[in-house]
Amino acid sequence: MAVLPMKRVLIAGLRKNRKQMLELLQRQGVMEISIRKPGETATDPVFTLTDTTGIRATFEKSITLAGQSLAVLDAVSPPENAGGGLFSGRERMSLTDYETNTKKRDRIMDMVYEIQSLNKRRLEIAAEIPKTESQLEAIAPWMEFSHPLDFTGTKSTRTFLGALPNDVPEEAIREGIGNDAAAVDIVSHSGEQTCIAVTCLKKDAEAVEEALRRMSFARPAVSGDVPAKQKEALSVKLERLAGEDEELKKKIAAFAPRRDEIRFIADYFRLRSDKYEVIGSLEQTDRVFIVRGYVAARDAANLEELLTTRFDCVVEFSDPAPDEEAPVALSNNGYAAPVEGVIASYAMPAKGEIDPTFLASIFYYFLFGMMLSDAAYGLIMVVGVAVVLAKNKDSIEPGMRKTLKMFQYAGIGTMFWGVMFGAYFGDLPQVIMRTFFHTEIGSLALWCEPTLQPMTVLGVAFIIGIIHIFVGMGALAYTDIKQGKVMDAVYDVGFWYLLLVGAIGILLNTDMVGGMFGLHLNLPASVILVFEILAGIGAVGVVLFGGRDSSNWGLRIGKGLYALYGISSYLSDILSYSRLLALGLATGVISSVFNSMAAMVAAPPVIGPILFTLIVVVGHVLNLAINALGAYVHTNRLEYVEFFGKFYNGGGKPFEPFTENTKHYRVSE
């Protein structure tokens, strides 16, 4: 439960060792290197800075090209383990393999370019095929015409080729032309158009053309050679294109055995690009370079030993200045660490704040469990994660591992509450016994069923909420005391504790609130008096000290009264925990909906039980998915809003070590 202490580190090494040293740092991945911002200059005129943006741009281009080639190759010849590796992380690669592959980089890039150019031709073909097909389509109505399409007539005749809209009979065309000497050939006709060839004497040509124009005659979209010949040529072209495409596909697919090399080269350039970003931030002389950054204190000694035994260099550590915003990394025990991802996606602790991971984890699994609350669902989560972790135990990435662990522990919470509420796939045991064995087995709940006693569970949900909120306030007091602001802890937390405890005590004794939960405490007047005194002291304290940053007493009391009004926000915070009951009910009731639906069709022999099983399986998979999502989202909400809202702001800069930011391989020594 802690924010890792950080050390500033300065490493001075020899230029000739720069490559090896930086690559060692990159593989170790324990040091965050301070990256120079644009425009920043060296700390001393002795040093020069190198501009690496140009070379990085070429690396980035190679990364893009390799990525595109890989996508092309994957599309033509899909990798064998597609989709199977959802949870498996990057493959390990030994340093020797890495170095062997590095020597092949030019040949690999040749392959990348080759795939690119093959694919470029495929794209051209992909554009040409529909073009050719539409030409074929355009020529189809003219297939019966035995002359070239640019035929205009003989020495003394004119021929007009074209189409009239709609299906026009020959007589109508003749009538429209109004010239007995003109010959009308209908080449083809369909509902949309009539393709015709009109031949007339040259001297009548103008009149005929005019008549045709009145009938909305349009010249054909195609021209050139005899249609039949054109069709043959186009068909041959299509075949040739399709054949060429097949050839290209085969050529690309032939690279499939070398797919890993492309993956490697993408990673290789990623590593180099990152390294050159660092090189661009180094202060250098002709012989020496200096790299600055941060390292977790626990890794400092190791790093120093590793560097100084292999290279001639100086490694210096110093503590960050008191006002310095050092990057933040978290370190927690096995129980709490899985929740670190939840903290990180809210915000890392700012300077002086505590790491909330452990406190959040105490409640996380418990709250999640209460919202999902089904022993069978919990078991599925626990076993499912165990199987996935066992299958990928070598390659899984630490972040994914933590997330899965979190769901596994949340699964244990779910099992706990499932047993409490007697939910095993909802009421499936009861439904099976009733439907197939005609026996009533009653409730399996260890404590109570939320559908039967919602008010009891609601009361417990509120109590859990109050504890959660009180722990959050306690964490604020702890942070204040740690920062030496003891009185702030008293004013902002102590008085509120008194006020809230007193108010809850008084409320529970009233008929309205107590009666709602079936409590009739009838506390003795002396106990009530104690509660009233606690609430009174708390309220007065809040009013007097809630606005203590104002020196004007009038303003201060005003602000204090406003602070007291904040009690309404505590009320709404506590009511917010009613979602623990509501989402628990949702899981249970939807389960029983599916179970009842299954029971309705279970009567016929053989087919009945099959349908029953089918509905139960599909229904519960759906219910688990949707309610696990709901439980996850709303557990986060309770932690972020109700809990963190009391003591935690965050805003620290996460620790981002210089590391292998690759996609496919992880190089290790």
Binding site: G341, V342, A344, S345, Y346, P454, M455, L458, L575, S576, S578, R579, L581, A582, L583, L585, A586, V589, I590, V593, S596, A599, M600, I626, L629, G630, V633, H634, N636, R637, Y640, V641
Partner: protein
């Protein structure tokens, strides 16, 4: 008159499923359009935007849940419809209304927040955790409505 009581009770159950379901249908559709737009350019975002798309879908489920609880209480499902008074029928109707109305409005507004969150995730994939929270804030009110509807239905069931 007793038939009229049953009529209003079933009307309530139907409204809960219908109105809340319509809201969710609209909401999930809105978020789905935004999600599909993101996946066009960034196919690897599919998992994240799908979760955001699903968030406004819960109201429909809550509505279904209320309808089911109400119909179960009424004996419509797998039993003999209960003979209930007009007052009790109207009480059932009233009990279903929070889920129906709040479900509809919250689903659509949650979808608006989800659409914005999808845009956020498409630009800042690392902010997925926070992006989920904005739509979830809206859902709080659907959960409250669900709770009140459930409590009210079980309360009405006890009325003679």
């Amino acid at each position: 008159m007793s038939d009229l009581g049953l009529f209003f009770a079933i009307l309530g159950a139907a409204l809960a499923a219908l109105v809340a379901g319509a809201g969710s249908a609209k909401g999930v559709g809105m978020a789905g359009q935004a999600a599909a737009g993101v996946v066009t350019d960034q196919p690897d975002m599919f998992g994240r935007v799908l979760i955001l798309q699903l968030l406004p879908g819960t109201q429909g489920i809550y509505g279904l849940l209320i309808a089911f609880v109400a119909m179960n209480n009424l004996g419509i499902i797998g039993g003999q419809p209960a003979n209930i008074s007009l007052l009790k029928g109207l009480a059932y109707l009233g009990a279903c209304l929070p889920m129906a109305i709040v479900g509809y409005i919250s689903a659509i507004n949650q979808a608006k927040a989800a659409v914005a969150s999808i845009a956020l995730v498409s630009k800042r994939p690392d902010q997925f955790g926070k992006s989920m929270l904005f739509p979830a804030m809206v859902e709080t009110y659907a959960i409250f409505a669900l709770l009140i509807s459930i409590l009210a239905i079980s309360g009405v069931g006890a009325i003679q």
